[in-house]
């Protein structure tokens, strides 16, 4: 198991390095003169040159990269070129917003997706199964932003249960926080629920037909205990989908953050791209990759725990 974990960690670090290097050079290639976005159109050439010198743009590209990379290695992503505030601090402010929404969405997806998938899988071709399949097709076909807008119109504008836009930090009001992330989380989760449910349903049907299940039933185990055995054997595929969904939801949050005006990582990415604030973009990229690596790592551990055969890969 330790060898398995070390292998996964090394793979994660290699991925992190590759993405960091790629992002740095791609960002610098895409934005020819960041000072124009940072200082605006009224800045004089002298003011732009002064800013370029201040943020080190007048040095060779490799020197700039090495400086950034040395800092990144010890977790220091430097300062924003726009306001000279710490990148770490700005990401630390925005990250909880995105994580709140994505984690809540993942939780909803896991609970509802598992329940729907399990029930539909245990009773294939029942009315419930058909309803789930129909809803799955419809939700899968509908664009996420449209679902978001429907939720806003219904629950924020008509019923006024939730705010249409904005974010309330939990420290300010726990209830306000929950209300502010509920609609964005459901917007993200609805599409993901059907995928997890569909995946689990198919696995449950397959596992249900296996000999060991029949044996368990013949030994007189209760329906609940048999279902638990089925779920454990059917869950790896759904768990993998859920992990992939979590990573996908992180990027999908950019759209949801725009629709609900949430000050999360997506909004910061958007603003930094427009301003040419490359240190922020690099910091966000590295943090996102770290999350991908961690999620995949945890997934591998979980799959290894559920199914010991996986550990020998």
């Amino acid at each position: 198991m330790i060898g398995f974990i070390v292998k996964r960690l090394v793979a994660g670090i290699v991925l992190l390095l590759a993405v960091s290097i790629g992002t740095f050079f791609l960002a610098r290639a895409a934005i020819s003169d960041p000072t124009a976005g940072l200082l605006g159109t009224t800045a004089t050439p002298a003011q732009r040159a002064a800013l370029a010198a201040k943020i080190g743009l007048d040095r060779p590209l490799m020197v700039q990269f090495w400086d950034w990379f040395r800092g990144a290695l010890v977790g220091d992503f430097g300062v924003s070129w726009r306001n000279f505030q710490s990148v770490n601090k700005q990401i630390a402010i925005k990250l909880p917003v995105t994580l709140s929404v994505v984690t809540f969405a993942t939780l909803i997806t896991a609970v509802v997706g598992t329940a729907f998938g399990l029930i539909a899988g245990l009773r294939p071709n029942s009315l419930f199964d058909r309803i789930i399949k129909t809803v799955s097709v419809v939700l899968f076909a509908l664009p996420g932003f449209w679902i978001s807008l429907v939720l806003v119109v219904w629950f924020a504008i008509q019923l006024k249960w939730f705010p249409a836009v904005g974010y309330v930090p939990p420290a300010q009001s726990l209830g306000g926080w929950l209300r502010s992330i509920t609609l964005p989380a459901f917007s993200l989760a609805l599409g993901a629920i059907v995928v997890v449910a569909e995946q689990l349903r198919n696995e449950v049907i397959a596992v249900n037909k296996q000999d060991f299940v029949r044996t368990l039933r013949s030994r007189g185990l209760s329906r609940g205990r048999v279902t638990l055995h089925i779920l454990r054997n059917a869950s790896p595929a759904a768990l993998t989908v859920l992990a992939v969904m979590f990573v996908g939801l992180l990027s999908g949050a950019i759209v949801v953050e725009a629709i609900f005006s949430l000050p999360g990582i997506g909004q910061l990415t958007n603003a930094s791209s427009q301003n040419g604030d490359i240190p922020i973009l690099l910091g966000i990229t590295v943090v996102s990759v770290i999350f991908v690596v961690i999620v995949n790592f945890l997934l591998d551990i979980a799959l290894g725990w559920i199914n010991p055969k996986v550990r020998v890969r």
Binding site: A36, L39, Q172, G276
Partner: protein, 501 residues
Amino acid sequence: MNQFRALAALSFVVATLGTGSWVVAQDAPTDLNIGNFLDITSWDPSLADIGFDGPYLSAVYDPLVALDAAGKPIPVLATAWTYSDDLLTLTMDLRTGVTFSDGVAFDADAAVANLNHLKAGARSGEAYLNVTSITAVDADTIEIALSERDDTMLYLMGLGRSYMASPATIEAGTLVTAPVGSGPYLLDEGMSVAGSEYHFTKVAEHWDSATYPFQNIAIFPIIDQTARHNAMLSGQINVNFADPLNLEQAKQMGWNITSGVSAWVGLQIVDHMGTTLAPLGDVRVRQALNYAFDGAAILNSLGAGAGQVTNQVFPAGQSGNDPALNALYAFNLDKAKELLAEAGYADGFDVSMPMSPIFALWQPVVDQTFGELGIRVTWDDMQMMDYQVNAPNYPMFVALIAMDNDPVATLARQVSTQQWYNPAPQFADVPELKALVDDALAAVGDEQVAKIAAANQKLTELAWWSVWYQADNTYYSVPEIAVTPVIGMMFPTLRSIQPTQ
């Protein structure tokens, strides 16, 4: 029945989860909740943008000079001002008894420190290009010395380039994130969430309290126009930087709807002399480009009809703009082709132009129109920040350029001074035009207005631009609140947002 009970219980739980900060009494004009388009650029007035920063900055800072609805400078912290006879020294009397929120008094030394900071600012410096020195004459008087006459300085100061911050914070370099001014409101950092919502509480003892009647202000920067509209529908905001596409619904809701022209849309011609693209040096070709675009059709189809069709860069309906000139290039494709043929370009010509996502809306119009004329365009795609740097290196480019209500400022910023869109002003290369522009800038009062009109007529005849239309900024507000647009500001400052009388 059980399902109904569950739903009712869920409703109850949700309804009692807590109020949060978003609940707004839509019919309570004591609270002003603004849906702005952009987040604040910077709390440091020297780095802030005029465009959408006005509501934020005017909450926490007092300016020396503000603008009224007509774009005329009005006194704020500067109570009066006079120019010397040679127009090279501006003397300002300052308000006394004003203190910044950190307790430091506002006086001439504070004003000098602020103006020097603003003069050095990358964004604010444009207002003080001709300033050679700023000195404190006494505790409540300052003098601004100019290297040459500058009729635009007071206007630009009023537009948002004279906000006064505590000199201690300027020295400490902390203004970027922590504003300390003498304004009518204080930023409530505890309630605010950077990038999402900013809350302000009224300063009870502010010297101009009556101009700022709202007790609490919240500003929500919301880029997505649908989200802003939904926030307005849900009652979260009561003033919105609006999308004209929602006009019918706004009428049904009984909201106040105000709008005013803000920017011209068309082709910015850089190479009037034909140095890099010979055809543009021929006035007939530039006139053909004016005849060829159907401004009214473009405004209706792409601008939701929110704007004014005119071929000039002076704001429609304001001083400098002559409605009679609008007929000069009525849409006529045949006439455009005829002019091109006369100029020797019957088969058109090749041109490279920059393109950025923000201008992609108009790209098909240019493609189609140029196609009709035989002009073969090659587009160079780039990001917006690169567009602003590189576009002026092309002979012409698609532009959306903000306008000013002050005719002198318009003449200066559109024609005679260096701007990002006009890096090498070429008016001086046309002697007749140079004489008219110089005359206009040298005149004063009504004579100046008349001479600017004459310069505008010549500029239009020379087809200095191909202006298709002027786009509106539109604002929706609840019936209890009225917004007065100010040309030059994408979102007006708080003094322009008042309870309905």
